[in-house]
Symmetry: D2
Subunit: 357 residues, 4 copies
């Protein structure tokens, strides 16, 4: 299924080396002013070729909106858009026609469909995330009108990690460096690590942390549409994502309830909490505090050396990757995580209008 | 939304202290022999009051099937079932009417709905998971006919953890002790820790690891219905779940691609992998290897001591929990994790029949 | 799929001669006062055995609510409810085990599922509509708080038809007679026709007309969730329904655009129309006028005489119906049509809150 | 919601006078050979400007496929496609900016969204049906491989109607004339009527009948996903559709059960029926007989004369249509009805694979 969302739904299409990728954003509210400069700036944050730590594939990633916007505002009808693939070098991928890259989706697509577009990974390529970023930019514009912001940053690359919580950093600084880490010193170390790994023809993983501020209490829903569940699902659809947690997450398992409970208090007429171990969500519904979560990304599977594998004939063979690849997906995953978060939160915000008579 | 699944859909209802809880399992395939003894044994694995490390609330949790089964076999029509609440002591909860327990869903339900059944947490109580276990038992019966098994176990409580992977243990041993850990020595330590915590009126978290064997290659779907995304979503709907990862998960971020890629080889005519860092899923689709993942559970919020909080009037107050609670939710979460995994995998198995012409 | 609705969703279960039928109404708004007397009165309008023109099967059809209601008001959590089957005479149906009744669903269920509960038609029995009426009663209560009413009546039985439009009658009179027709004279003729047909052991069809008043302009949605499309879908799920039209419907095809266009005019500050050929829906969205539509019901297939057919072995045989059946389904279909309309309109009303930022 | 279908899902976008219209066909099975000539021929059957009885707006309606097809075959990934709008004369519609055309969706879109693209009806224009025909052509190709065909024809225009059933005609003849009626004499009369009406600047309605052959028994599903319900919903999403019935439909209400039951018999080892009043569907599931149904279309609202109406300011005014319009939508609706039927039936055929273990 290539659709995500309940009320606000994004449906995407497109292969890495086809004519174009694109999407339809449906159920988007009418009356949102479309700031195309903002959309372009978001696209640039994800685009390949932006820095030394990303793939050299150079795509302008220009979005063309085809519908749903009239005289600069959304009309409530579906927003169709396309992004043409311009910098294809498909014959870089001829060797993928006959063999399966280890830990890629080549084999599983073949097992499922019996046919696949081998060029650049086809549908399984992270190229599709450009569509998400475009849709996410529109969702951010709508959220901004509601006073909600979503920001992500790189909190770990390999074993270099930020020890503090998101609240310990000025997140605006994340965009000041090419790895998108708000701690300049750690950022420099991360950059060196990525470049080292790249020099080896190898890849490295990392973690993106994301924070949503301004979400009012009462957004989300029990039981199978929990905000936490929707965020997890959305994040785990991103290429190379291997894990998700929110609030104290995996670290919470070693603490005790008495340490981790977030005490409510009367903050001059507003219900507030002393701490935020919960990550802003209790019982699947927002409590008005900041929502924060982490997404783990594995080292991407494409490495620039020979690897044993099997061919489409099922026989042992050797494959060597060509093409242009990211040594670490995390810096470019930051805007993708934000996009998926924006889409998910906007969706829940609208759905929550249906709760009471 | 109280429904989960696409083709096989579970819809549940019921509050902790209402008349009954129950569900409708729809889209379930016809022709499955319903082994009611097996259903009962699964229910016993989750039921409260089963051991010293669980809540003392004693519920028989007898399932009554109302439809969808004829002469011992499923008919393809919806399977309705109820579980009556028999051991209610609702006035244990009178103090919850007027105040919000810290880190519980009391406040967020109020913020969302403007009204709530305060007795025992109402809808947000983990009591609802009995419904999931019943539905999961039926799904396991269907999966068994396809040669697929699902088994979970406790891999961590507090800071006591199994260092090995699931493959290092005889998982059948997990059911031999009350914490459901396949390493007897660690199990004993976990049990001691839980009893210590219980003595303090406190709670502790932990991790459940789950393994599905026998899932053929090609199950799952790009892009927004990835098997990994569906599993994450399903697990994050469980009470107290704070994190999910699969394969090497969060640990993968420190490795390199050259170490983590799973090399394919020709295993006497079958495509196999030398390692399984991927956790049996690549590009959201199964590759025929074992699928394994982890779910992190926080220490549950109900602790047996006084805590500051706010009342429904928004003013500061003090609350002290009464009632009967689990000091550690993990042992009883094991069958719930299995149930949600069985439901998710059966759903994807059926959907995968629609892929090719 | 045994679920209908997008935001407000009804999922039902149950066979004609199983233990119980029931449903889960999910996504229903919180804060609705549940008038149980009203629910009971609606159930009585549909219950069998209510008059000489309906089946003699006598069911009290008592609804037991199991969840989602607290201290008399809905809480926003799923409303589970059951209706026990009390007046089963299953061995009336032993002859259905081995043969397929003509124009019934016996054969198609067998073809689809390979197994069926033959007793009284099992899942395909109109008995399930009791569940719809219960859910519809709750929806009517919610709609009433919004100023919206839904009323249906019998407008045709066999070739006895009301010539006027709904606006020509006092619809309150429909409940004054056992066929539910607001024209007393026609009602008497319809009753005579049904009793004649019954005497022959035969059955007859008819038409139900339904009117919703008070639906504001702007409810519904393009393109594949049109209010007209949702109503058609909902009505065509009712047993024995064969056709649907709205506004001038099938009759509109012989007119000309210049005759049928509904001219807008400024009605003291409100936009109103001179006529209502459109039936209150234009482009799939309500225009503030009365919504009205018709549903055609065939003569039910169960007739009390011998009919040739085939057995489950595929060989020719003879079947003769026993059991207790309706000679004309239309009088009891009236509340079912209302229920499905109420569910559909409430669903669209809530969804329409998500349209604008 | 701009998506239709459960397993095979079509999502569309685009306004009448925007840059392009298009769609994403998702869940389409892999391995279908895409005959682009066939797609083009289907598009020509719907395109405007094809004959004297259709609008003069002349659009080539060339489809560009952007994804999901590789080396001439579908890959199972979403099929994105666009159709550029080339023959826009948007200033024909300037007068629609400030006033609402009677019986059009201008007013209801404004009431719902608070903003609308007034040019040519924007999203509510029948131009969007080109997208459906393209998707429907692909579905027909898949169905053809399963031995299933779908064919529609004009059975009534104004009061000129075919008296016989579909089985009385050679349906191949329907494409021999510009009104798409298989009876040449009636076709000529219909054509004359449409031209008369056109001369008056007026419009006229009609009925399309559609037949699907080769659908095996067991396709469809109880209760809220009946094949009949899905067909009704799909048809009622088409512009100007006012009614739907299947089998004997509305006409069945005057007959008796004893006349209308379709007697099963053993047809040399196949279960067959003597008659087909049911229209090939019993209990919402196909019985292996031909499926047939009718769709009523009103006279389209755009007439070439002055009409009173209200302006966007709510005040009385006069509007006169300009632009190029169909005097009767029925001839061009024929391929649209087929497309929606093909989409619906293919969807159900795939879903039916999930029924049994």
């Amino acid at each position: 299924m290539n659709t995500i969302g309940t009320q606000v739904r994004l449906t995407t299409f497109g292969e890495s080396h086809g004519i174009a990728i694109g999407g339809i954003l449906d159920g988007f509210p009418s009356g949102v002013v479309v700031d195309e400069d903002f959309v372009r700036s978001e696209m640039r944050r994800r685009r390949p070729g932006q820095s030394a730590v990303t793939t050299a594939r150079n795509e302008a990633d220009e979005v063309q909106f085809l519908s749903g916007i009239f005289e600069g505002r959304t009309t409530g009808t579906p927003i169709g858009f396309v992004i043409h693939n311009t910098n294809n070098r498909s014959n870089d991928y001829d060797n993928l026609r006959d063999a399966f890259r280890p830990s890629h989706a080549d084999y599983t697509y073949s097992a499922k469909y019996g046919i696949r577009d081998h060029r650049g990974g086809g549908r399984s390529s992270a190229r599709e995330t450009a569509v998400r970023v475009c849709a996410g930019a529109l969702c951010k514009l709508a959220l901004a009108q509601m006073g909600i912001t979503v920001q992500a940053y790189t909190s770990q690359v390999g074993d270099i990690r930020l020890e503090g919580s998101y609240a310990d950093y000025n997140l605006a600084l994340a965009e000041e460096n090419i790895v998108r880490c708000p701690d300049a010193e750690k950022a420099a170390a991360m950059e060196r690590l990525i470049l080292d790994v790249k020099r080896d023809g190898d890849t490295i993983g990392g973690i993106v942390t994301c924070v949503a501020k301004g979400v009012p209490a009462g957004i989300g829903a029990p039981l199978y549409n929990k905000l936490s569940s929707s965020l997890a699902a959305a994040m785990m659809t991103i290429n190379a994502a291997k894990g998700f947690d929110y609030g104290d997450g995996f670290a919470s398992v070693t603490g005790r309830g008495s340490q981790q409970n977030d005490i409510f208090f009367d903050d001059n007429g507003t219900i507030n909490t002393r701490t935020n171990h919960s990550g802003g969500i209790q019982g699947g519904i927002s409590n008005g505090q900041d929502i924060y979560f982490r997404v783990a990304f594995k080292p991407v599977a494409t490495i620039l050396c020979e690897q044993p594998t099997v061919g489409v004939d099922g026989r042992d063979t050797i494959i060597s990757a060509r093409g242009r690849h990211d040594p670490c997906v995390v810096p470019r995953a930051v805007p993708v995580v934000e996009a998926m978060a924006a889409l998910t939160i906007l969706d829940h915000c609208l759905l929550s209008r249906c709760t009471r008579l």
